[in-house]
């Protein structure tokens, strides 16, 4: 069904602010800057030609040591037309992105998860707290530079030592 999907229409509407990612083969995919993300999402949800009313998933990705380091991947679905669309949003370090909670309220927990795992700050989020890890936890567990075993502490004696200076600022809980 995805071959019928008029992805060019999005580019027509947004000109150079949105570009199509040709490397993706399984569904239509566009790349957008964080500044235009909210506008793009509300356009896709409300426009009668698209009706992307269902937000499937938000996924954070860490490409360390590549730049730009972080990326948010949104998977949208249009229940009336049966189309899927992927939106990629590259982020700098430290990562900041606008919240899309006002557009889809399901984004609330997805964004909290991305914050918890990658430390991506969602500006304007109503309740940005850790969701899986406990409040006092330091560090962002899904980042590529976070060891699989975690850092050494009282309960985890065989894990690697925590680096002292370089990333101490990144791992601080808000």
């Amino acid at each position: 069904m995805s071959d019928l999907f008029p992805v060019e229409k999005i580019v027509e509407h947004f000109y150079d602010r949105v570009r199509i990612d040709d490397t993706v083969t399984d569904m239509a995919c566009v790349i957008v800057n964080p500044n235009d993300l909210v506008e793009l999402c509300s356009f896709l949800r409300d426009d009668a030609e698209f009706k992307f009313n269902f937000l499937s998933d938000i996924c954070g990705v860490d490409f360390y040591p590549q730049l730009p380091r972080f990326q948010l991947v949104y998977h949208l679905f249009s229940i009336p037309y049966g189309w899927r669309l992927r939106i990629k949003c590259p982020l700098e370090d430290p990562p900041k992105a606008p919240t899309i909670t006002p557009i889809w309220c399901t984004a609330n927990w997805h964004e909290r998860e991305a914050y918890d795992m990658y430390g991506i700050i969602f500006e304007g989020h109503p309740d940005l707290r850790r969701i899986y890890m406990w409040k006092e936890f330091e560090g962002w567990p899904m980042r590529r530079d976070f060891p699989l075993q975690g850092y050494k502490d009282k309960y985890n004696p065989f894990a690697p030592e925590k680096p002292t200076e370089q990333h101490s600022q990144l791992g601080k809980t808000l």
């Binding site: 069904m1 490397t23 993706v24 083969t25 399984d26 569904m27 009313n53 269902f54 937000l55 499937s56 998933d57 996924c59 990705v61 860490d62 991947v73 998977h75 229940i79 049966g82 899927r84 992927r86 889809w104 309220c105 399901t106 609330n108 927990w109 997805h110 795992m117 850790r130 969701i131 899986y132 890890m133 406990w134 567990p141 899904m142 699989l148």
Partner: protein, 405 residues
């Protein structure tokens, strides 16, 4: 029933009011696992719900980044532990899309057959557990009895009751054992009547109905905005089922009805699942009927483990392939894919970014229970009292292992 943690008094314009902060769970039977709810109560009326999840967080996604593609199957089992074959299927489909291969036809039938069996086992739990949550203990004992039959079938097929790990990339681990088809058909015959038994036992019970009817009503628009999927969404009147609308495997050859209900209350979410079990039986019967003998694993020694175990002892080449597969796994070409299936709880999606090595660069699980549970925080519909929260939670049917990943 619950621990009263904090009692604090606040003043408002009407004078003094008493708000009680109550802690429900994490070790409470009606939270279906380790879910902790922090409730702000005004007497018996709930004003605010704050779920605290993550008590069962195992870091599945982080582990997946360090495992080979075959090693990830057991991890997917442990997401929604009531229906592991569905999880295996979703993950296998995603990897197969990256490799651009397709499982042989017989393997697809076996996968669908097992996924539907596991759908019955998952739905049986809520069919009994929701009445138990609201005080009718008996139904659970009967549904558990029938669930045992499904478990026995799983054991017959895969040797394991719960964490089957039966799928492989490019097929399934083994063929169906001899006599299995007959046993499954026998189960279908018995089970069909049992579904009516539950309905008679519970559905006409006035106490049960008064606890679940018109409670926690979710509108179609509200359900879509909340990202609900599966029976929870269809109970609200949205006619969308991935099995029918974007068929994967051999679902396009099967004839089944998508159950849609209109009210969107706790009762409809429960009833939707009961009716879905009948459709699953129909699918299982058709699978058995249409299934033809043939290979059950893709014929590619670089991806599929050797089927003929005798060859392992005699053929050096088979031996090497087996060693490489077991020790290093297979390489998956660079790319990314999102594959979603209709799991018993809703849309289960796997988003995989592959970087050309034997391990995924990033694997994201779109867990339906995680998204569905969020509906609890929204004060939708008629959900005022503490007892309604329990009914709502039971009808959303979250599996905490999947919520916490």
């Amino acid at each position: 029933m619950t621990d009263v943690n904090v009692i604090h008094e606040t003043t408002n314009e009407h004078g003094m009011s008493r708000e009680v902060l109550m802690n429900l769970g994490p070790q409470h039977p009606s939270t279906h696992g380790v879910l902790r709810l922090l409730l702000t109560m005004d007497g018996e009326i709930v004003e605010n719900i704050q779920p605290h999840i993550g008590l069962l967080h195992r870091g599945t996604e982080k582990l997946c980044e360090n495992f080979t593609y075959t090693q990830i199957f057991p991890l997917t089992d442990r997401l929604d532990y009531l229906c592991p074959p569905s999880n295996n299927l979703a993950y296998a489909l995603a990897v197969e899309a990256l490799l651009d291969i397709q499982a042989p036809e017989r393997a697809q039938y076996i996968r669908v057959l097992m996924a539907e069996l596991s759908r019955i086992s998952g739905h049986l739990l809520i069919t009994g557990a929701l009445p138990m949550d609201v005080g009718a203990m008996t139904a659970l004992l009967y549904t558990m009895r029938e669930r045992e039959m499904v478990m026995d079938l799983m054991e017959m097929i895969s040797g394991v009751r719960m964490h089957t790990s039966f799928c492989r990339v490019g097929g399934v681990r083994e063929d169906l054992p001899e006599g299995c088809a007959e046993r499954i058909l026998e189960f279908c015959d018995i089970f069909e009547h049992r579904i009516s038994d539950y309905e008679q036992l519970v559905e006409n019970n006035r106490v049960f109905l008064s606890r679940v009817e018109n409670i926690g009503t979710i509108s179609p628009e509200g359900a879509i905005a909340l990202g609900l999927s599966g029976p929870n969404l269809r109970a609200s009147g949205v006619d969308w089922d991935i099995r029918r609308d974007a068929p994967y495997e051999i679902y396009d050859r099967l004839d089944f009805k998508v159950i849609v209900r209109t009210d969107g209350d706790c009762y409809d979410r429960w009833k939707c699942r009961v009716d879905e079990m009948r459709e699953s039986l129909k699918i299982i019967r058709q699978c058995i009927q249409q299934m033809q003998p043939g290979p059950f694993l893709v014929d590619d020694p670089k991806i599929g483990f050797p089927v003929d175990k005798d060859l392992l002892a005699h053929s050096m080449e088979t031996h090497i392939h087996h060693f490489i597969l077991a020790a290093y796994g297979f390489k998956v070409p660079k790319g990314e894919v999102y594959k979603a299936i209709e799991a018993p709880k809703g849309e289960l999606g796997f988003y995989i970014i592959a970087d050309g090595t034997e391990k995924p660069f990033r694997l994201k699980v779109r867990a339906p229970s995680f998204v569905n549970l969020q509906a609890l925080t929204q004060h939708t519909g008629n959900m005022k009292y503490l007892a309604d929260i329990i009914a709502m939670l039971g009808s959303l049917d979250p599996v905490m292992a999947e919520v916490d990943k």
